[in-house]
Symmetry: C2
């Protein structure tokens, strides 16, 4: 995974664009369910991703970036993958925040691994910088998660939907 600069920038552009789109979805969803506090968090995250996207585009300048396959940059699906179930699941602010954190962690690990393996010094420098930004997002989401009531259904296991979470 030792990228050229255009390859790396293409990944960063796609990743930030994808993140911005997903934060907008999450914000709209929270707003529709009258959770303005969590909607505001996701709108902030959307803005950060967009700004980062624009910075990376500016850095790319006239460089021609390769086209990527969708699975090279997409956010993971919510843990209850699929149609309606995922939707219901995601309506809980706690789950939506954890979902966002998962994806920010994936992005952070991605940038870290690029930084570790890059032979191009500019790729190394940029990837380390982007990893640090993602780490800040993870930390911010963790703070919010700590302040958000946990729903009855737990994240990792749901042995019996009628039982409250331990």
């Amino acid at each position: 995974m030792s990228y050229s600069l255009p390859e790396f920038l293409a990944h960063a552009v796609a990743l930030e664009h994808e993140a911005a789109e997903r934060y907008l979805e999450l914000a709209d969803m929270m707003e529709a369910h009258r959770n303005d506090a969590v909607a505001a968090i996701f709108r902030d995250m959307n803005r950060f991703s967009k700004m980062h996207h624009d910075e990376v585009k500016a850095r790319a300048g006239a460089l021609e970036l390769p086209r990527l396959k969708s699975w090279e940059y997409r956010w993971s699906a919510p843990p209850e993958q699929g149609g309606e179930e995922a939707f219901d699941y995601m309506l809980e602010p706690y789950n939506a925040l954890r979902y966002a954190r998962e994806n920010e962690m994936r992005a952070r690990e991605y940038y870290r691994s690029v930084a570790a393996e890059a032979s191009d010094p500019e790729v190394k420098r940029l990837a380390a910088e982007f990893a640090a930004e993602e780490a800040e997002h993870v930390a911010a989401l963790e703070q919010w998660i700590a302040q958000t009531p946990r729903p009855a259904m737990a994240w990792d296991a749901d042995p019996d939907p009628l039982q409250p979470a331990p």
Copy 2:
């Protein structure tokens, strides 16, 4: 999961659009690797998805369709999720075909479950019809898979990459 007609049509439009896009990616990838036979299959699948998409749009007519969240209709990621690994993995026509089949099966199951649970008779009828179309795609992909050499690395398990598949 008992949809109104506009809700159901929104899912079908999004699902077919997503499938068309992914088939185009797969076709381009196969073509770049000089596998014209498999590229042609994916171009056919792309065309079928597009046609189906357009039919559903025509059926929707002036109905206003709700906006969906991305995870309500997206193709799954390849099994070796992530960046470069998924890409390498998908370069094998056998894996790409199995990946496509997985997603067609998901679509078929989705339409079947809607047909089973729908209370609106028109939703029930359309969902059953769409499920039958997806079943044809699954069958076509299965035929191609049977004719495609299996790569050394197996789909479900890769206990040791140096060992050939059993």
